[in-house]
């Protein structure tokens, strides 16, 4: 009897190892053609895999004071900043971001983002995982787009040839995001710490201590020689997967080339200066570096002391004097973000890499006043009244660059006071769809089973924003 056991996809079909399109084994909740749809087909294969860098403005960027200024309205709304022209005729942004103005032809501003989730967890879960009912959740119910993309790419790839993980978070805390029912294997690899340090080292990457590395090598070699367990029982290739991950881990830990990907000291000092010799500049430089080394998804949160006292963009009057806060952080922000965008283009990464800069919502157009809850950078002493803006999901802005798209556009518009979207509204689903489209993921049809076996769409209601589509 000739049983060729290797001829088919085989083994118990694990819930996570096989992208299912239906309840356990019963697949066709979508059309029959999709019955056979595996992740490989869902991703358009080019010679180079596309990638995304997301710059996350945790807390919510004030659209009124940055990318969607309203210079002609009353001072209760407008804020103290002037507008300046950009190098795109007719497009004006805040005076706080002169570098942005200089290269506006290299990015797009979407001014018409909106959704209905007004607190940080809900706003983040809505925008990043499409959960429009997220209110009151402590942990995300649906996986964020980064873990979905990491999962889809892992399925498509088979054996990973690049030792770097495909999803890396550079100083990006896992707050309100996460892989949910995809499982912890799709959490990002984390790069944390002070990247401005000369001797910055990522834990788990590149053991610098030669003796340590040698000992690790000894241990692994000893293990391999003792590991005699008969592998033939492993129909599901589980053992093989363990070995592959161990090999990948060893490479990360001991291979000098992998270390280099994380080694900013190998960058030209002029480049490091250009991004800005501060945490944010070096974070975004690290992000670019990792993308170049073949990582698929990099996210980086611009938070911490550079934001001001409260360490994020959540500029309620009780937290910060919003305008001092924006002044405080505008320089490192302006410099780092534009350096990243310019760098992407200069290094020819703009076709492959999509850059998106966003927060979870905007901020109230009408300026609010309240007492500061503590002194510090960009915040008056306790009890002193200062201006602020609260959460405003009804309208907000974000930035897009690279991805082979036409740039220099402003997409959508808000009303006179920046309160509501009046033109080309873009929902959270559209945001996600645009990113998935860039990654070659068939967002309107891919479904992944949750813990109950219910096939769940990765984009519930959304279409890729056509103005941000690849043109080349």
């Amino acid at each position: 009897m000739n049983h060729d056991q290797r001829s088919h996809c085989c083994g118990p079909v694990k819930r996570r190892d096989f992208m299912k399109l239906g309840l356990a084994g019963f697949g066709s909740l979508t059309w029959p053609g999709l019955l056979k749809l595996k992740a490989e087909n869902a991703q358009k294969s080019g010679s180079e895999k596309t990638a995304v860098i997301m710059v996350w403005l945790h807390g919510g960027l004030s659209h009124m004071d940055t990318y969607d200024p309203k210079p002609d309205i009353g001072s209760e709304y407008r804020g103290p900043f002037d507008v300046i022209d950009t190098n795109v005729p007719g497009v004006q942004i805040t005076e706080l971001l002169p570098h942005h103005a200089r290269i506006a032809d290299k990015f797009n501003i979407v001014r018409s983002m909106y959704h209905r989730s007004a607190d940080h967890p809900a706003g983040t879960m809505n925008l990043l995982s499409g959960d429009f009912e997220a209110r009151g959740r402590v942990k995300p119910k649906f996986p964020d787009w980064m873990s979905v993309a990491s999962y889809m790419r892992s399925q498509a790839e088979g054996q990973r040839t690049n030792p770097l993980p495909n999803y890396i978070g550079v100083c990006h805390p896992q707050e309100y995001i996460g892989p949910a029912y995809l499982g912890n294997a799709y959490l990002p690899f984390g790069v944390e710490g002070d990247l401005t340090q000369q001797k910055f080292e990522v834990p788990n990457v590149g053991l610098s201590d030669v003796a340590e590395a040698a000992r690790l090598g000894d241990r692994v070699a000893l293990r391999q020689s003792l590991d005699l367990l008969e592998r033939r029982f492993d129909r599901a290739m589980e053992l093989q997967a363990v070995d592959e991950f161990e090999a990948q881990a060893m490479t990360l830990l001991t291979n000098p080339q992998t270390r280099d990907a994380f080694d900013l000291s190998q960058e030209d000092p002029a480049t490091r200066d250009r991004y800005g010799r501060n945490q944010w500049g070096q974070q975004l430089l690290m992000s670019r570096r990792l993308i170049e080394a073949g990582v698929d998804i990099v996210t980086s949160a611009l938070v911490g002391p550079l934001c001001g006292r409260v360490a994020n963009w959540d500029d309620h009057a009780v937290n910060h004097h919003i305008f001092n806060g924006l002044r405080f952080r505008s320089e490192p922000y302006d410099q780092a973000v534009t350096a990243l965008i310019e760098d992407i283009y200069e290094r020819g990464l703009d076709q492959r890499v999509l850059v998106v800069v966003t927060g979870e919502f905007g901020r109230t157009p009408k300026i609010e006043y309240d007492r500061s809850t503590g002194p510090g950078n960009a915040s008056a002493p306790t009890g002193v009244i200062q201006p602020g803006r609260d959460h405003w999901p009804r309208a907000f802005s974000n930035l897009w660059a690279g991805g082979g798209m036409r740039t220099g556009q402003v997409i959508g518009a808000t009303d006179r006071r920046g309160e509501d979207v009046i033109e080309r509204g873009c929902k959270a689903g559209d945001f996600l769809a645009t990113i998935y489209q860039h990654l070659g993921i068939d967002y309107s049809h891919v479904m992944i089973e949750d813990f109950n076996g219910r096939p769940t769409a990765i984009v519930d209601d959304g279409k890729a924003i056509p103005e941000l589509a690849r043109v080349s």
Binding site: L21, A24, L29, L222, F451
Partner: protein, 740 residues
Amino acid sequence: MKSFFGGCVFLILFWAEVPFVACRADDLPERLTFINDIAPILTKASCNSGGCHAKAGQGQNGFRLSLFGFDPDEDYEHIVKEGRGRRVSPAAPEQSLLLLKGTNSIPHGGGKRFDTDSVHHQRIVEWIRRGMPYGLETDAKLVSIDVQPQQIAMPPNGSQQLQVSAHYSDGQVRNVTELSSFESNDKSMAEAEESGLIRARTLPGNFAIMVRYQGLVSVYNAYVPLGADVGTLPEPKNFVDELVFANLKRIGIPPSPTCDDATFLRRASLDIAGKLPTVEETQKFLNDTNPGKRDQLVETLLRSPGYADYFANKWSSLLKNRRDEKNDKRSNFAFHSWLRDGILENKPYDQLVKELLVATGDVAGNPAVAWYKRVKQPDRQLEDVAQLFLGVRMQCAQCHHHPFERWSQQDYYGFSAFFTRIGREPTSIVGEDVIFHRRGIATAENRKTRLQVKPTPLGDEELVIAPDDDPRLVLANWMSNPENPFFAHAFVNRYWKHFFKRGLVDPEDDFRDTNPPSNPELLNALAQHFIDSGFDMKSVVRVIVQSQTYQFGSNPNDDNLADVQNYSRYYPRHLTAEVYLDSINQLAGTVTEFIDLPIGTHAVSLPDNSYNADTHFLTVFGRPDSSSVCECERVDSSSLAQSLHLLNSQEIRKKLATDGSRADVLSRNKKTDRERVQELYLTAFSREPNEAELQIAEAYLTKPRLDAKGTALDPQKAKRMALEDLIWALVNTKEFTFNH
């Protein structure tokens, strides 16, 4: 049992004599109605699938259909009447938007669903031409469908064309194969094509093809025989063996030989008590000459506290014993203790479930009420109860008829009605409520029909419950009734999966007519055994672990390598996070400290999920967060993060280098290297090392070590470091990390 849909599997012996209408391309039925003729096309062409026009919410691009056509009234409304009837053109039927889109003659996000010269197209055109009749009350109604042939053996790589017949109330029988949908319950074993052609693969075993037509479902059962000579099977110890062996003989899969004592000892200890045997236990067992020692071991393990810990751990997570806020600590600890104590004293399962469901009072007096703290709404309560204790996933039926099963929304809301008289009063402790029965008639609103429905046990009649009676008690009694078809089956299946890695029904909590057990006789026998024992959980463990089947080795022979369903060998699996951590500690002679718990507490005894955050090991190795009633929340696959953690985490490095650890102690005592290696192997694997292993290990232990400057290290230090390395290596071998 009442059943909403008539889908069943019949053997029609005289079908040749029943009037039979075959539909060919140019042969249209006399009466074309929406309900009998057009609606099936929408399902077959997948227009009304969950990813397309039946998407939750607004459908797709403004056109909404009910999922798989469960609501033909609505669908008719949307197709014929909505938007001033823009989707159909009675004057020029071929120009109807419905058809232009369906054939992709104009741009259609869903592509081409059928050709312009297809039967489907022709039928829809004719229907529009005839004025788009919906169907009359007096029309023949669809009563049932059946699939031919019945259960057969399909050779590997063989194929079989199925025939589906639809039976109508006027006696008519139609061949509806072309319009039926087919789906395999195990794609690794067989695939079904759109035409109803089934193709078997090469994996041996049982599978089922679900057949769907117009809201009815039917099942085709088949098996792929291996046909190998099963050889001499061991003497069956109990009914488990008899029924497993019967299946093995039918399929023709020879089992692996019985595992040796060391393997059995380690395997049973891990599966029953969640821990490795100690060296003393190992030596005692291996040296015991009593022929009944394996059975005795099972009894010993069942009496051990490890059994209570390990199974309380399982249930605690499924019962969502989760710490969301600091205050939860009190109720979580109390709830976990209640569970563990109940398992330790071997409380009957039905009593445990009753105590949980009917829990009344506050956490201090009755810790079981803590479940109501986590699961607050009737919808969540019914879903959790159904999935955990009945093995039925009801979630889908909340918004539409369950796509693959018989449950309707009426069933869903009827079941939820049991939970509508639960009263809550806050206590002085934030988050903890007093739970009690609120006097009143229990009813729930069916959100689709807007009518009230009284408590309805699944598959049974609506009940009228007096206002003073707690409907939860009625529910608990219905569940523990020996006639209940779900309660015992769900439990034994879950425990079967615990010991065998794959449930007789898989996933273990997804019982459906369309997902039949791979060995129905065995499942029924186990369930009956459980009921007869008075729901004694230990009796299930006993009959499983004492069987020959459980004791097959994990090494495959040439024939059973492909078997993943028939239990011809033990399917190895990775140790769970808690057990792995405890085992590492046991080998390394270390402990992990857990907040608020005494030093030396095992990970398997942890009362809730909060420890995952502090002990990264647990998160990385997939300990569940207690958010779901599905055991699938526990991650059992490997990952890069796991490898990195083992190789280079602070936690592991420090653990191995701890003073007073086994490596430290061994390096100081007077044992020979050989004895040291033996001790390690006995602890890790419950067996002696063989010559090859001794050679490699001893060589490593005697290798000279140099420090950074190149001078030789102090021999005791060198020995200790070498032992640490050896322990690390053993902890990372597959033999250690897997239960095999």
